[in-house]
Each structure stands twice: as structure tokens, then as C-alpha cells.
């Protein structure tokens, strides 16, 4: 349940506060969007007492057991990594960040919300 609370909270922070700043910091919106998605995914696995310490292991499990959301989840992961470790040219554009929040994150969030209820 903690994962789900954290996932929803991160998503609401973006929607209520950060999306208006997307032109200034699209990369950090991407990062928080990914961590919202991560907690949604972890909420699903936590119900089965499955926990991950590394992204690569979680990504592998998502590809196997949640294939319907894999592309959106991995896109959030990939862009968030580039946002954190890449240079400015690797940052997502405003449009990319908005797509993550408005299209990819809902794919993950809605799917998991249905699964865990």
C-alpha cells in the first residue's frame, strides 16, 4: 500500500504543481514521472512479496509479467536515466515530458490500479 500511496503522490505533484514548469525543467518532470511509475509497478509486485533492488531486474520482470505496459514503463525509465545522467541535449523536450505524463504514465498507473484492486 505504501508503494501505491507514493506512486499517486508523485503523480499528483506533477499534475498539480510541476507540469506548469515543464518548459523550465522537462527532465525533472520525466524523472518524477518515472518514479511514480516505478512505485505503481512495485505496488503490484509487493502484493506478491516480490521486491527489486536494481532497475535491470525490475525491467526484466515487467517485460515478462506486465507486457501490456512494458513499452510505456521502459520509456519512462529510459528517458529518466538520460535526464539524470545525460547532458542537456539528452534532456527530453517539453513535448516528450508532456507525453510521458499524459500518455505513458497513465498507461502504467491505470493498468496497475485495476490490477491491485
Amino acid at each position: 500500500m505504501e508503494n501505491l500511496i507514493k506512486a499517486r503522490r508523485n503523480r499528483q505533484i506533477i499534475l498539480n504543481h510541476l507540469l506548469k514548469l515543464v518548459a523550465e525543467c522537462p527532465e525533472w518532470i520525466a524523472v518524477i514521472a518515472f518514479y511514480s511509475a516505478l512505485h505503481f509497478v512495485d505496488a503490484y509486485y509487493a502484493k506478491m512479496n516480490i521486491y527489486f533492488q536494481r532497475h535491470v531486474d525490475r525491467n526484466k520482470e515487467v517485460s515478462n509479467s506486465l507486457p501490456d505496459i512494458f513499452a510505456s514503463y521502459f520509456k519512462l525509465y529510459d528517458i529518466s536515466v538520460n535526464s539524470r545522467y545525460g547532458c542537456v541535449k539528452d534532456n527530453p523536450t517539453v513535448g516528450e515530458a508532456e507525453n510521458l505524463v499524459n500518455e505513458d504514465l497513465p498507461v502504467v498507473a491505470d493498468f496497475i490500479e485495476d490490477l491491485v484492486h
Binding site: 532497475h55 535491470v56 526484466k60 517485460s63 507486457p67 510505456s72 529510459d78 538520460n82 541535449k89 539528452d90
Partner: protein, 189 residues
């Protein structure tokens, strides 16, 4: 065959030109075997100028002890001769399988992808002991192309569940490809 082995730095060993990777055999000295895993992690082929990364072999690949993978470098180092070298062979089937897997993945990608690079990274604490890291270069953001890449990756991971993969899409955005791809990554043919 010569048993010339060349030690350059703490953790880099050079293989004699007599021993070619395409023969599917590499040779190391017994001395090299007794070093730590870190010290035997990188092997440089003095003929081709390529290094080889050695990873302790783990399941499901269980024949002759090690996996080899090319390690891109242009630097050569001084050498010494190992008088008491002990010859043994290395099974490259796992490497070849991993490479073919990445090549197949690359071939399945739709238009819009400029290049695909990969690197095999040592991951001794987790099965299978290494991770295949893939970089897909595209000129600029393209939602359809990117989703196609991620969907293909999901398929690749499901079809090769014994392997560990990581992937990143690199948007070139006017930069040269080699500016955005680390030198240890190899281009997929």
C-alpha cells in the same frame, strides 16, 4: 603456438597474435588464471588492436569456464613473456549467442533507427554473470520509432529470459554518433 602473454596494466592482458578470436580459442597463462577476477577482466588482442573482456562463466552456459567479448581500444602497451604459460581453451558459444541475439533485435527494428550498438558488461554477482547493454541511436525524438524499439526490447527480453538486458535510446540531435556512444560499445552490423 607462442605462449607470449603481455601484461600492460594491473588489469589488462594482451593475447599473442597467434591466438585469434575467430578461431574460437583464446589462451591465457596459468598466472593469469590465478589473478583476481578484476585483473583478468580485460584482454587485448595485439594483432587486431581489440581487447577482450572476460567474465566468469555462469549458468546456463556450462562448458569451459569463460566468456570472451571484444573490448574496443586503440592503445597498445609494452609486453613481457610468460615462460610457464598453461594453455586452455575458452568457449565462445555464449558470446556468439549474445551477439546473434542483438543482431536479430537490430534487424527487427523499423526504419528511423540510425545505428545500434551493444556492450557486454561484467555483472559477476548476478546470473548470468553479465549484462547486454544496447544503445539505439535515432536522429531526433520520434514517438512511434521509440515505442517500436521498446516493444521490440520487451519481445527480446521475453524470448531470452536467461539473459539480462539494458537499453537506452540516444537522440543524436545534430551530434556525431561517436560523440554520443561510449567507445566500449560495438556497432551491430
Amino acid at each position: 603456438m607462442s605462449t607470449l602473454l603481455q601484461k600492460q596494466e594491473t588489469d589488462v592482458w594482451m593475447i599473442s597474435p597467434d591466438y585469434l578470436l575467430d578461431q574460437a580459442y583464446l589462451v591465457l597463462s596459468n598466472t593469469c588464471m590465478q589473478t583476481t577476477a578484476t585483473e583478468r577482466s580485460k584482454i587485448l588482442d595485439s594483432m587486431s588492436g581489440k581487447c577482450y573482456l572476460f567474465v566468469p562463466q555462469k549458468r546456463p552456459f556450462t562448458t569451459s569456464g569463460f566468456l570472451a567479448e571484444s573490448w574496443r581500444t586503440t592503445t597498445l602497451f609494452p609486453a613481457f613473456e610468460s615462460k610457464d604459460a598453461e594453455v586452455f581453451s575458452l568457449d565462445l558459444s555464449c558470446l556468439i549467442s549474445a551477439r546473434k541475439t542483438v543482431e536479430s533485435f537490430s534487424a527487427d527494428l523499423q526504419t528511423g533507427v540510425e545505428d545500434v550498438f551493444y556492450n557486454i558488461e561484467d555483472d559477476p554477482d548476478h546470473d548470468p554473470g553479465f549484462m547486454i547493454s544496447i544503445l539505439v541511436v535515432i536522429p531526433e525524438s520520434n514517438r512511434d520509432v521509440e515505442h517500436g524499439v521498446y516493444a521490440s526490447l520487451g519481445k527480446l527480453m521475453r524470448n531470452n529470459s536467461e539473459l539480462l538486458f539494458d537499453l537506452h535510446i540516444v537522440k543524436r540531435r545534430g551530434r556525431q554518433t561517436r560523440q554520443v556512444v561510449p567507445p566500449e560499445f560495438q556497432k551491430v552490423k
